[in-house]
Each structure stands twice: as structure tokens, then as C-alpha cells.
């Protein structure tokens, strides 16, 4: 009798657990059906780039795109150096904080972007900026590159790609091979020193 009661109790408990699991709508692992899932905050927080420190960066490749997250810590954002970048077409949105964004072959686009603001940067158009522009506050940007950004390397790699390292040297221009070889582009008439400082 004792055994029967005990087994019944275990079965009831298991049934309850199953019902609970069945109604919990997060059963699919990452990558099911080719769909990639990323938790921005959780995943980016695991990837601090040092040096310089204060920059958290992670990304996921789609078949023909790369989705990336850049997060700059409060108090550090302004001091994260960024070279002038040239790469494939990109749509970036500010999720938190502020960015002084400068772009164009003559650096003719200058604007402070804040949460909810987006820019689309055509392929190879030079751009750079200062994060945490308003108050050196935490700043998060999510961005999608059109075309796989293969220079970033494999996802989840512990080693930071040379492409990103180069960007953080604040050298004048860091360009992908495709942009370096692009024919007929105008000369870039500005440098990182022309970026306004807060």
C-alpha cells in the first residue's frame, strides 16, 4: 500500500512537470529551421573586448548577412576608439545611449543618434563615431550587415578577429578587401581627428 501511494505520488509529480513543460513556449534550441536566435544583452555581456575594455561585442551570421551588437559600458563609451570603417552595407539602430556619427567620403554626414534612431550606410562608405556622446553613458547599437561579414570570423570564437582589432586601433581607415579594391570611389578627405569631441 505504501509503495502504491509512493508510485502514485511520483507519477502525479511527473505528470505535473510534463504539463508545465508543454505549456512553456521556449522549447526550440538555437538554430532550429535555420532561424538563429540571439539574446542581445545576455550574449554580448559575455564578450568584453580587451583591450580596450568597456566594449562588448558579439555577432551571429545568417546565410547572407551578419547581425552584430556593440555595447559600450557607462564611463567607458567615449574612450572606445574606432577607426574610420569601410565595409558592406549596414543598417544600425541605437537601442540605448547616444552616438556622434560621422560618415561620407568628405565626412559630410554628422549627427548625434539616440535610442530609436537608425542609419543605413551604403557599402564602403567611410564612417566612424564617438559612443556615449551625451554623458559617457552606456550605449548599445544593433546592426545588420548586408552580406556575411566573413572578416569577423566564426561565431563563438574566443579570439577577436583581426578585422575588429584593426578597427579599435583608431588608425585612419580600416577597409575590407572588397572596399579596398572598389573602383571609382572618391578619396576620403577626413580623418579620425576630424571627429568632434564631446
Amino acid at each position: 500500500m505504501k509503495n502504491t501511494l509512493w508510485i502514485t505520488a511520483v507519477l502525479l509529480a511527473l505528470t505535473g512537470m510534463q504539463a508545465s513543460a508543454a505549456t512553456f513556449i521556449v522549447p526550440s534550441p538555437d538554430g532550429t529551421a535555420g532561424v538563429r536566435y540571439i539574446n542581445n544583452e545576455e550574449q554580448v555581456n559575455k564578450h568584453e573586448i580587451t583591450p580596450p575594455g568597456g566594449l562588448f561585442f558579439t555577432f551571429a551570421h545568417g546565410p547572407n548577412s551578419t547581425y552584430a551588437i556593440f555595447k559600450m559600458a557607462a564611463g567607458k563609451a567615449r574612450s572606445v576608439p574606432f577607426s574610420i570603417n569601410r565595409h558592406n552595407e549596414e543598417a544600425g539602430t541605437i537601442i540605448k545611449g547616444s552616438v556622434l556619427f560621422k560618415a561620407g567620403y568628405n565626412g559630410e554626414f554628422v549627427r548625434v543618434l539616440r535610442a530609436g534612431e537608425t542609419i543605413i550606410v551604403p557599402k564602403c562608405v567611410p564612417h566612424s563615431g564617438v559612443f556615449g556622446w551625451d554623458a559617457n553613458e552606456e550605449t548599445i547599437i544593433v546592426t545588420t550587415f548586408v552580406g556575411k561579414y566573413s572578416e569577423y570570423g566564426e561565431e563563438g570564437a574566443k579570439k577577436v578577429s583581426n578585422e575588429l582589432k584593426d578597427k579599435l586601433k583608431a588608425e585612419e581607415v580600416v577597409a575590407t578587401k572588397e572596399c579596398q579594391e572598389m573602383q571609382g570611389t572618391p578619396p576620403i578627405t577626413w580623418t579620425v581627428k576630424d571627429i568632434p569631441r564631446p
Binding site: S28, A33, V35, S65, T93, G104, F109, P122
Partner: protein, 200 residues
Amino acid sequence: MKNKIALVALLAGLTTLTVWARPPLDTGDGVGGIRYYDSYKLTDQREAVPGFFFSFIHGPNSTYAVYKTAAGKGRDLPVNINRHNEETGVVVKGSVLFKAGYNGEFERVLHVGDAIVIPACTPHSGIFGWDSNEETILITTFTEKYAEYGSDDPKLITPEFKKKVSNIKPGVAIAETDMCKNMKNAPKVTWSLADIPKPE
């Protein structure tokens, strides 16, 4: 002499006004090929169907779009199963029950900060405001120009968009681009809107 003073004063005034009117950090939309977009402000101006706001902007080879559902409206929004070019989406407010895959095998509630990358033509749909029918905003980038959306003139709502959110017929409702319709060797879509869970 009086005239000279007046002229100088006028010029000084005009110079001040010109400087004031041209803040150094705002050079406008489109300069240098860059497209600038205020996602929330512009989306609020474009109510595609009652309670559902939608706006977008094209890049040379991409389209950035914003979808917003008003509080109390998201769950009632009929979103067909979609198939189109590769897309990355991020929830920036609220929640979305997102279902995707040819067999509907990816199913997950996405909250603020959650992102998904959907390969070209992979079927997907969902319910906005899943948690409590709250205001929900999803931003998304299509990694090719979504030409079927037409001009990014904010006054237009294209048939392509309308078919995504209307004429729901469970079992047959797939809103797909010609590219996806004509895609060779794609598996069959084995699920329908009826298979999307409903919030309690």
C-alpha cells in the same frame, strides 16, 4: 554713418541667425549616401491598419522596417505566414510569440533585446503583445531591398504589406514574394495559422 551702423547691425544679426539655424551636428537626411531614420517618430505617423504602425526605409541593397502594435491591439493583429528575403529582427519593446520553419519547428517568445535571423523564404509568423497585449515594437532589416514594399514614401501602403495583415484564411494564408513562390526545392510548409499558440 547711421546707415553704416544699421547695415553692420543687420549683418551681425543675420550671421547670428544663420549660425543659430545651422547646428553643427545636424546635416540632414541622405548626405553622403547615408539614410537617417527616426524609427519611432516616423512609425507613429504611419498606421497601416488600426492599431498597427508600419514604416520602412530602403538602403541601396537593404530595407529597414519598423513594426509597432498599440497596447490592446497586438494580439488581434492578423499576421499571415510570411516568406521573403533574409531578415534580422530585434524586439525593442513588448513581446512577440514567434513561430518559424517549414514545419513550424522554431517557436519562442521574444522579449526586449531578443533577436532572430531568418534565412530567405523561411516561413514565419507570430503574435505581437504576447505577454499582456502590451505595446510592442519590432525593428527589422531585410538584407536585400524589399522592392515589393514600393517607395518608402510614408503615405503609401503597398499591396505586399496589406496581404501580410489581411484576408486571413487559416490553412492557406502564406504571404510570399515571387522569389520565394518560385524557389526551387524548398520543403513544403506543413503548418498554418491555426497552429500558432494563442495567449491565455
